[in-house]
Symmetry: C2
Subunit: 329 residues, 2 copies
Amino acid sequence: MSQTETHSAHELFPTIHADLAEIEGRLRRTVHSRLPVVPEVYLHTVHAGGKRVRPALTLLCGRLVGDAGEATFDAAVAVELIHLASLIHDDVIDDSGRRRARLTANRVWGNKNAVLVADFTHAVAYRLLTQRCAIETVERLSGTVVRMCEGELCQMYNEGSFEVTEPLYFEMIADKTASLMALAGEFGALTAGGTREQAAACHAYGEKVGLAFQVVDDLLDLTGDEERIGKPVGNDVRCGRLTLPLIHALNQPAELADPVRRIIVEQPTTSEAMHALRDALAASGSLAYTAATAQRLANEAAVQLADFAPGEARSALEALAAYVVARTL
Amino acid sequence: MSQTETHSAHELFPTIHADLAEIEGRLRRTVHSRLPVVPEVYLHTVHAGGKRVRPALTLLCGRLVGDAGEATFDAAVAVELIHLASLIHDDVIDDSGRRRARLTANRVWGNKNAVLVADFTHAVAYRLLTQRCAIETVERLSGTVVRMCEGELCQMYNEGSFEVTEPLYFEMIADKTASLMALAGEFGALTAGGTREQAAACHAYGEKVGLAFQVVDDLLDLTGDEERIGKPVGNDVRCGRLTLPLIHALNQPAELADPVRRIIVEQPTTSEAMHALRDALAASGSLAYTAATAQRLANEAAVQLADFAPGEARSALEALAAYVVARTL
């Protein structure tokens, strides 16, 4: 569920500028407690930013099908709360010290506070859905959290393994990342009076965008600029996680696969080793294959919008799908 | 949310023997996944036992007001899932190695698996409430999880402080322990067609029993037998947590308070030091005061049952209140 941040939500979603400002205010107000540490840890993570892609998806899908009212705002905030809580738990689990060029909550306040404030944030997300949304949204959210946990556990379980196939990779990123983006889209349709078919299309759109997003994220972990993505590159490969470029390379003929395998086994820690890995992945065509896969997924996302009336919301969602892939440049 | 276990639920609640066996089976079946680690970690915690006091509370309060049907079973299991998940997170947070004379999940599978399986279990609890229960139960559960997190955070924040007063102590244990037992009782009434007043009485009963339970637990941490309670004694005092006996002693005249303060400051690690602490707490009347406080809370719990018709359910709940205090013997 990691992500890279280069644009603000406002640049990316000009048509919902005011709505996103409203979401930002609600995000800041929603988690409160008589204990000062709760807003401290929580707001640290909120202030770390993020593009608020998930609430934007909810709002835009709500507009796509009808009126995005209070229930849509509640659902949009709930989805982002689950995302923020998962970032806090991920950093505890990975013992990460930096996220988006800032210290992580676990590094500043310790694991105890981080785990409990994330649990607290989770509970607030569920509570928010009980105010104006149907109980179905709770069922969908809890099912999604189950998938997110399974995705993380599956990824962890396969660290250090050379047996990860492309289908298994996609299953893992569908669970850990795309499931919540799919839900964000679906929540927009569900809370704004969309039909079952519309909710399913918004879910499929969000899922494809989420998959493209994670594929690009995994590519940037190998090819990105540390300053720009706000975290160290090469993290996945040092953790022994086979991502799409590596899986592709390892399935090429030996003269292309072997150099990649050798570098992975040695767990590259220097920028020279990372450069050598990048060169080997370029030679095997794996970087190009990964970029093309992300593009295909973004195209498939856009196709899901075909049955909706053209307009600002649809255009913004099309732009989002395009943007996710443009991050590779 | 720690607890000590000396009786099985079946001994304690003979009138709902069959229902508790059903709960046990549902607990084992409810959390499943294609990933083997999920049931491994989860069932390790389920098999560690526990008296299933919370589901018993839900079932008995359900019977007290009407028919305990499928929704009541769902709610009973959901409450126990939240309890089990909180035990897993607590052991991660406290870096505990043993619970009920077994290794903890974090010690066997590591913090990553433990945190994620607890998150997974939380989500399953919410999902269960969406099957047959009203959305109000989700609102009540999420509010309770918020209180449980606040209780844990508040306790952690006050570790090492000599400023903890009796009202603050009761606020902390109400949040971290009694809130879920109160909800367990309330869920019984809510899911079995009870009135608002009945739900409030069941909530109050569960809260008082929960307070008595935690007061006794804190007493046993100072006076209990390690073999019998299945965990090291003196844990609270070594963590710098002022519990009721210590708070009482520190508020006595200097000649009684000072010996206690001296031992606490030195953080007793030997059984000699723990004996000296026990003697000092006996001399200050603090052990007797704490036992009397637990008895008073148990009596107050029983009073909440006065307006319900006499019968098996009410008798079992009265017996439970009495049992919680009898653990001190």
